[in-house]
């Protein structure tokens, strides 16, 4: 596939963010979602102003430290202005950070939706509750989107930049609100809770229960049923809420940034994600390519030079001043240097191909080079952010 280069009308991440209120970073695990999200949020705080929140699902202490914070949790914490000044930046706005605490967020949700104090306490004390909220399919995905919605609806922030859970399937979290609503309104759930409501089973459900009894044990089934009966009292609130979350994701004020490295597996996931966004009519704002090798690895003239360096290493060594070392030694170094270039070039070529595949869809493609040092402070984040920004 030929790379469609950026068209003249294409903008920058800066322009994109200036018009949005929610930016969702997604992509395969390990591609740098959290770091790029924090970098983009920091840039927004510096250049766009207003109150910017980076909401992360990744409990990385390192990110907290990079932002000049001891730690941050479920409650939003402001990054000190001094941290920006120390990094040589004059922020027009404020940067806040929060981390998603799944358990705490679920507890909040239950408190909000429970019809009365009795039900609320019964749910929070239920032995299955912790397990279910911890492991329930998409519970993590759902709660991330729910919390995003809650913060956005509160109007406390002008821009929220969020990274997404490392879901098994990139698309899971997009469907989480819908699935949650489906789940609570499903006939299967009602069916499952029948025995707890009535001891009289219909003919149709009897075989199911007898088999279920043998496999899971009736006590466990009853526990599950009881729990879901309690949970169902929150049904209405949940469904309305889930629908609202889904609407927010599709809103024109929300945009998605797909982050990927140029290795084959993450690229495949990114492509899958781009298609999924398209299918759902969600807005793909930008693709951020992370840890990209510098473009000069692809230069053809340089390739020929590197090959010559490898082939004629010893004779080339002789044109260099003697104090560098013996021609043998200098020759060996020249050969290593040339070979290293050619090695990296193989990777750079592969990357270029991947890049062409990913560049076709979005309006904005940003590349972040391979940083040869770790990002440990706000200055580092802003340096990375500069690469994405324009």
């Amino acid at each position: 596939m030929a790379a469609r280069q950026r068209t003249a009308s294409a903008g920058s991440v800066e322009q994109l963010l200036a018009a949005k209120e929610i930016v969702i970073h997604c992509g395969s695990g390990g591609v740098g979602k959290t770091t790029t999200a924090a970098a983009v949020a920091a840039m927004a705080a510096v250049h766009l102003g207003g109150k910017v929140l980076v909401l992360t699902v990744d409990p990385a202490k390192r990110l907290a430290n990079a932002l000049g914070l001891e730690a941050f949790g479920n409650v939003e914490t402001q990054v000190p202005r001094q941290a920006f000044l120390d990094a040589g930046a004059e922020p027009r706005g404020e940067l806040w950070a929060a981390m998603l605490d799944t358990k705490e967020s679920w507890d909040d949700l239950v408190r909000r939706h429970a019809p009365d104090a009795g039900t609320r306490d019964a749910i929070l004390a239920n032995p299955l509750y912790k397990n279910i909220t911890g492991r329930f399919v998409q519970s993590h995905d759902y709660i991330a989107m729910e919390r995003l919605y809650e913060i956005h609806a509160s109007g406390r922030f002008d821009l929220i930049v969020v990274d997404t859970p490392p879901t098994r399937n990139a698309i899971d979290f997009l469907e989480a609100p819908e699935r949650m609503a489906d789940f609570f309104s499903s006939r299967l759930l009602r069916w499952l809770t029948v025995p707890a409501r009535s001891r009289v089973l219909s003919m149709a459900s009897k075989p199911f229960y007898s088999v279920a009894d043998r496999i899971l044990g009736s006590k466990f089934l009853e526990d599950i049923a009881e729990f879901f009966l309690l949970f169902q009292t929150m049904y209405k609130g949940f469904v309305i809420r889930a629908e609202a979350v889904a609407r927010t994701l599709a809103d024109h004020r929300t945009t998605f940034v797909v982050v990927s490295t140029l290795e084959s597996a993450p690229v495949r996931e990114a492509e899958f994600f781009i298609d999924a966004l398209d299918d759902r009519g969600l807005h793909l704002g930008a693709v951020v390519l992370n840890k990209v090798l510098p473009p000069w690895f692809l230069d053809e003239g340089t390739t020929a030079t590197a090959k010559a360096m490898v082939a004629d290493a010893v004779s080339l060594a002789k044109v260099l001043p003697e104090e560098l070392g013996s021609p043998d030694q200098v020759g060996r170094v020249l050969r290593e240097v040339g070979e290293s270039f050619l090695n990296f070039q193989v990777v750079a070529n592969r990357e270029a191909e991947m890049r062409a595949e990913l560049s076709a869809a979005p309006e904005v493609v940003a590349s972040v080079p391979y940083f040869d040092h770790d990002i440990t402070d706000l200055a580092g984040l802003l340096q990375l952010g500069e690469q994405i920004w324009r």
């Binding site: 695990g29 279920a212 003239g301 010559a308 170094v333 020249l334 290593e336 240097v337």
Partner: protein, 319 residues
Amino acid sequence: MRELLERKLVFVTGKGGVGKSTIAASLALLAAQQGKRTLVGEIDAKGNLADFFETGPTAFKERELAPNLWGMSMDTEESLKEYLSLQLKIPLLAKVGVLARTFDFVANAAPGVKEILTVGKFLWEVREGHYDLVVVDAVASGHITGQLAAPQAIQELVQVGMVRDQTDWMIEILGDHDQTGAVIVAAPEEMPVNETLELAARLREETVVELAAVVANRVLPELFGRGEEEVFEALAADDRTPSPADLLGAAVGGPVRPILDGAQLAVTLRRTRGVHLARLRDELPTGTPLLYVPYLFQRSHGARATRQVAEHLAEELGY
């Protein structure tokens, strides 16, 4: 400690993006090459196990990928169907489908059930002795302990019934260090190393599974031998005219600066990563085998790369 490939069941995990599947595929290939009847199973729904062997897609029903090597992809609904037909001897198989769908729903809702269907399938293959070795391309580090501890979780939550009855033998196999082990794959970067160290501790605290080895994947080569780095620095120095790069450029008739910059990048990357690698080595529990797999400079990551990684692993394991 029991040698890695002498075990019966190996779970391969690690932070996303570190090459967990590559290592799982290569370990399985190596075992098969060593004459072991091997099954490699992927749990993740991504379904790219087949790419590592270039054989076309794998399904729940295992298929031969190479001599001695079979591959399968986990599908909890299929696993449940298999379980039901094996355990319940339900006469009408057609009905199993409906039942299985219903149970899939229960499995989604009930904690631990889905995990036990996943882990249980591999444990069952081990118990039945169908293979000499089962290698599982397991879930990423965030979810692995939940999966490996599922039988215990079920024991706590479920008092009676068939699922409960199954957990005893499962825990026994999982906790038998001669039979079962976990492998964590790490890349020599800060976050993957942190996550590896955390996971090593969590495996010990939350599961009965022994950490059998850690694989440091994509380790960059040392570019220069003794004394050569000084030569390189002098070569790359820009403090006189003509610089060594100018002289070289004139002699070779092309741009030399980018080539020197490329080598500099390689040296710096190797150095920063070396720090994380050293930390990994120092902070892992004493006695944990640490296997190094070099970065592969090549075009694609297909069957050829799998074979190359298998060769490196063979060397590290002393084959």
